[in-house]
C-alpha cells in the first residue's frame, strides 16, 4: 500500500533536491531505464518521454505534505523546486519499502543540463532500435533541437557509463 509513493520519496531523499519538472520527469525515466523499480508509466510526448502518472503522484505527495514544491520565477518562466519534507521522511522510514541505492546515477544526472537529460531519455525511449536508427529517430522527433554529432557522442558515453 502506497509503495509507489514511497519509492518516489526514496528518490527525493537520495537526490536531496530536484529543480524543474521536466528534469524530474527525465531523471525518473532514466532511473527506470537503469532498472530501478518505478511503476509510473511513460509515453512519448512532444518533448520526449513523459509520465502523467508521475505528475499526478508528485501532486499527491505535495498535497499530503510529504514533498515541498517551491515555485520560482526564472528568466521569464516558472520553475519548480522539490525536496522531501520531515513528514515525508517519517512516512518513508515507517513504510517498510526497501529501496536500492540510486546515488551514483543521480549524481551523474546532477552534473548534466535538462536539455542533455532530454536527449538521453529520448534515446533510451528508442532503445529497441540499432544505434543508427536511434539517432535517426531522435533527429526526426526532435528536429528543432538540432542535436550535433558531439551531443550524441556525449549522450552515448553517458548511457554506457550509467549502465555499467
Amino acid at each position: 500500500m502506497l509503495e509507489d509513493h514511497a519509492r518516489l520519496m526514496a528518490f527525493f531523499e537520495q537526490a536531496q533536491e530536484v529543480v524543474g519538472r521536466k528534469r524530474l520527469q527525465k531523471m525518473v525515466y532514466i532511473l527506470k531505464k537503469c532498472g530501478f523499480d518505478f511503476s509510473e508509466r511513460y509515453s512519448f510526448h512532444f518533448y520526449g518521454p513523459y509520465s502523467e502518472e508521475l505528475s499526478t503522484r508528485i501532486e499527491e505527495l505535495c498535497n499530503l505534505g510529504f514533498l515541498d514544491e517551491a515555485k520560482e520565477k526564472e528568466k521569464g518562466y516558472y520553475q519548480y523546486r522539490y525536496h522531501l519534507t520531515d513528514r515525508g521522511a517519517g512516512f518513508l522510514s515507517e513504510s517498510g519499502v526497501t529501496t536500492p541505492n540510486m546515488d551514483a546515477v543521480i549524481q551523474k544526472m546532477d552534473e548534466q543540463s535538462s536539455k542533455f537529460l532530454e536527449l538521453v531519455s529520448t534515446m533510451l525511449y528508442f532503445d529497441n532500435f540499432s544505434k543508427e536508427e536511434i539517432e535517426d529517430k531522435v533527429r526526426t522527433v526532435k528536429s528543432q533541437q538540432n542535436y550535433t554529432e558531439a551531443d550524441f557522442e556525449e549522450a552515448w558515453r553517458f548511457i554506457n557509463d550509467m549502465k555499467h
Partner: protein, 432 residues
Amino acid sequence: MAYRDEKLHEEKVFKDPVHRYIHVRDRVIWDLIGTPEFQRLRRIKQLGTTYLTFHGAEHSRFNHSLGVYEIVRRIIENFRDQPFWDDDERILCLCAALLHDLGHGPFSHSFEKVFDLDHEDFTRAIILGDTKVNEILRRVDENFPQDVADVIHKTYSNKLVVSLISSQIDADRMDYLQRDAYFTGVSYGHFDMERILRVMRPMEDQMVIKESGMHAVEDYIMSRYQMYWQVYFHPVTRSAEVILSKILHRAKELYMANEYEFKLKPTHFESFFLKEVSLEDYLKLDENVVFYYFHIWKEEEDAILSDLCRRFVDRDLFKYIEFDPGNQYRELMDLKECFNEAGVDPIYYLEVDSSSDLPYDFYRPGEEEERLPIHLQLPTGELKELSRQSDIVESISGKKRTDHKLYFAKDLIEQLPEESDIKKRIYEILKG
C-alpha cells in the same frame, strides 16, 4: 487504382448515438474494420468496471474507435486546402485514428498494473506483427504499418498528424468524453464539438484554436475535469477495480506457488503469470473469457479466490472511507496488524487507492515544457497558451485536488464476534 485511393462503390454508414452517422468510403478503412483484431474490440468495454456503477456504461472500445475515426475524418474535411495541411497524410490519419486503441486488453487498467504490460506495446505488435490488420496496411505500402504505428506511438515526423489523435485537444478525448457521458447517462461531459472543429486550424507542428472558439474549449476542459471526478474516479468503480486486481493477484499467487489444484486451470492466464505473453495469447483473452473464469472460480476451493470472484460477479464490493495518508499512515499500519490478528488477510481485503492510480490527464498548461499545451491563435496570428487567456481554465490548472480512499471488506469485520477486542479496535481506527 492504388489500394490507398480505392473507394467503396457506395458509402457505408454506421448509426452512432454520439455522432449520428459514421461515414466510411475508403476501402482500406472498411477492410480494417472487418479484421478479427478490430472486431475483438467489441469484447473490450471502454470503461472497464464502470458499468457496475453506471449501468449504461457497457459500450466498447469498438464504438469508441469508430468515433475517433469519424472525428478525424471531419477534421480533415475542414483542413482541406488550408496551409500546413498535406492531404497525402489523410489515409494515414484515418487508419491511425481507427486503430489507436487496438492493443487494449480486458479491463486494461488492472491487467496492465498487475501484469506490468502496456497496451501501446500491443497496439504496435498487432499493427506490425503477423495479423490481418498488418496484411491490409501493407497493401497500402510496405512502410505503411510502421507509419501508422509511429503516429499512434507519437513518434511520427509530422507532429500535426500526431496531434489530431494525441494532444490535449484531440479526437480521442473528444470522442470518449461525449461517448462516456452518453452511456453513463450523466449530464456533464457535453461540449460543443462542432464549434471546436470549426475553429481548429492546422499549424506546422500542432492544431491550434482560433481565439473566438475559446469558450467552446473552456467547456471541453471543464467536461474533462467533471467527468474525471464524477465518472472515471467514482469510488464504487474504484472498489470494483480493487477487487479485480486482487483476483488477478490471488490467481497468480496460487498458480506460481504450484501447490494448489485449480478446478478450472487458468490456461488463458498462464503466459500472463509467467511474463511470457505472446501476441496470440494476448488476443485470445477478452472480457468474455475473463468473465467465464471468474464465474467458474466462484466454486474454487481456495476461499479467498472464490470469495473475491463472487464479490466481483455479484457486485458485492468493498466499502470505503476517506483516508489521509499524510496524517493517518500509522493507523494504516495498525489496521493491517489488526486485520492479520482477526484472520482477515490485509493483502486481499484492505487497500489504499489514490487518484494517481488511475491514468487520466488533467489539462496542463505546459510550464517547463512538460506537455504541449492548447494554443489559441489571436487575430494577429500570435499564439497564446489557453490558461493565460481563460480565467476558467487557469483556475483548474493550478493546485490539483487529489484523493485517497481506504477500501476494506466490511462484511468480514462485521462477522467477527461482537465482543471481540480486535473488532472494537478495527472500528475505532476506521472511525478515526
